[in-house]
C-alpha cells in the first residue's frame, strides 16, 4: 500500500474506539495550529484549528488540545470509523504572512 516505506508514526485502532494523535511543535511564538487529514491521492483537508489563547476546542467527533508549556498538540477522534483512515498532519503558524509549518504526519488505520 501507499504507506509502505514511509516510516511515519502509525496508529491502528478498531472501529468504534477513540483515537489520539499527538504532535510536538517547534516554535513557541506560533499563534495558530491546525489539523489536516489527507486521504490517499487527495489534498490535505481541514479538520479543526485552535488559537494559542485556547487550550481546547471541540468539533464534531474531534477535539484538539493544546499544551503550550510543553509545545504539544493532540487530536482526539471519538468513535473512530473506517473512513477516518488517513494521514493526519498538524501544522503551526508563526507570525510570518501565514506560513504554515507542517509536522511529519501520522498514519491512522481503522479496522472494521
Amino acid at each position: 500500500g501507499e504507506s509502505v516505506g514511509l516510516h511515519l508514526p502509525t496508529l491502528s485502532v478498531q472501529e468504534g474506539d477513540n483515537s489520539i494523535i499527538n504532535c510536538a511543535y517547534s516554535n513557541s511564538a506560533s499563534d495558530y495550529f491546525i489539523w489536516y487529514k489527507q486521504e490517499s491521492g487527495k489534498g490535505p483537508q481541514f479538520i479543526i484549528d485552535i488559537r494559542s489563547n485556547m487550550d481546547k476546542r471541540q468539533g464534531q467527533r474531534v477535539t484538539v488540545l493544546l499544551n503550550k508549556t510543553v509545545k504539544h498538540l493532540s487530536l482526539q477522534i471519538a468513535a473512530t470509523q473506517p473512513g477516518d483512515s488517513a494521514v493526519y498532519f498538524c501544522a503551526e503558524r508563526g507570525t510570518s504572512y501565514g506560513k504554515l509549518t507542517f509536522g511529519q504526519g501520522t498514519i491512522l488505520t481503522v479496522h472494521p
Binding site: L6, H7, L8, Y32, I34, Y36, Q38, G41, K42, G43, P44, Q45, F46, D49, V87, F89, S96, Y97, G98, K99, L100, T101, F102, Q104, G105
Partner: protein, 112 residues
Amino acid sequence: DTAVSQTPKYLVTQMGNDKSIKCEQNLGHDTMYWYKQDSKKFLKIMFSYNNKELIINETVPNRFSPKSPDKAHLNLHINSLELGDSAVYFCASSPSSADTQYFGPGTRLTVL
C-alpha cells in the same frame, strides 16, 4: 464545484524539460500558496501570493517561478526539471494570510 483546482493531476516528463502547473480557486480568497510534498509525505511551503503580490518565497531553486495573473490563479513554472523535483505539488488558498488554508487535489510530477 471544486473550490481549489489544479491541472494537470499527473505530469510525467523528462529531465531538462520545462513544465507548468496551474491552480485556480473560485472561493474569492486573496491568498494562494504552493506546497511540495515529497516521497516521505513531508509538506513544505514554497511560495505564497496575496492579491497577486509575492509574500512568501522559501529557499527554492530559481528554476521554480510562480506567476499570479489575477488573485484567483497561481501558476507554477519549472525550468530545467531535475529528478529531485519529482513530488506532489499542492496549491492552497485562504481568505487572507491569517486564515485557514484550503488545499487543491495535488499534481503528481514525475521526472524521468
